[in-house]
């Protein structure tokens, strides 16, 4: 089994976030999905949600926010986004 270093994971997170903040949503999604194969994390699901929202793929965004909240139910930012999307 190939061992993945924590640094690799952190790199992926950083890269994904960079893409997200620069509105390169498709690239962000690719990177975050890769990170998820290493570890499931509420922040990654949440940011995947943001990227899908950026692409106007609202159903997928909702699904990601829900997954994020399954892992961390009191995560304010995800709760806020989900509320917004349900209103829409």
């Amino acid at each position: 089994m190939k061992k993945i270093k924590k640094e690799d994971y952190d790199d992926l997170l950083e890269t994904g976030q960079f893409y997200l903040l620069n509105k390169n949503y498709k690239e962000a999604i690719e990177v975050f999905k890769k990170a998820l194969t290493i570890k499931e994390d509420y922040l990654i699901y949440y940011q995947l949600g943001l990227a899908y929202e950026g692409l106007n793929e609202v159903d997928k965004a909702r699904e990601m926010y829900r997954k994020s909240l399954e892992l961390k139910p009191d995560f304010d930012e995800a709760n806020k986004r989900l509320d917004e999307l349900v209103k829409e």
């Binding site: 903040l21 106007n56 806020k80």
Partner: protein, 227 residues
Amino acid sequence: MTFCIIGLGRFGSQLAKALIDEGFDVIVIDKDDNKVNEFSDKATSALILDATDDKALKESGISEVDCAVVSVGQRIDASILITMLLKEMGVKEVVVKAVDELHAEILKRVGADKVILPEKETAIRLAKAYHSKKFFEILEVNPEYSIAEISAPKSFYNKSLQELKLREKFGVTVILIKRKSPYLNEKGIPEIKEEIIVSPKGEDVILENDILVVLGREKDLERMVKE
């Protein structure tokens, strides 16, 4: 298969015509004799009666139809009562037109087999027609004009409204532009803020993933999105 259409407003009469054209047996019912007369030579039977009248409805013999469609416009109480009567009479499938979500919920609870929210159906139909989610929401202003929320087509990216000439080419006006921008909040977590440009000017530029709220004739909106 036999249908019964109760209420011959715009929706009901269009549906009845379409079903007759498709070769189905159609019974039409309305209180207004003018509306019913229009169908007298086309429909299997055309009846002038008030469908909220329990006795009259039973005597019409419509309990035998395979599907009854109730479309009595804004008369919420009437549509609920008629739905209940039809189900009591044993009509196999009752389809009812609702005016809003709450009305739809009540109709389902009193036994409607299917509830139609026409605005939603229009949006769904359009979405299906284009095999994509280009139309998010459609609001009919009048039978001719609609306001639609659309995802900016690729050909619009990085062009100003002046360059696009949507009003000249399609008779379509952009009412507002919605744009989502990610940023880092004070905790270092990304969030999204929604920017809204109301009554955009000619020099405003459409960006990738923008949502446009546009006003125009439905056929022109479709034409614009197709291009």
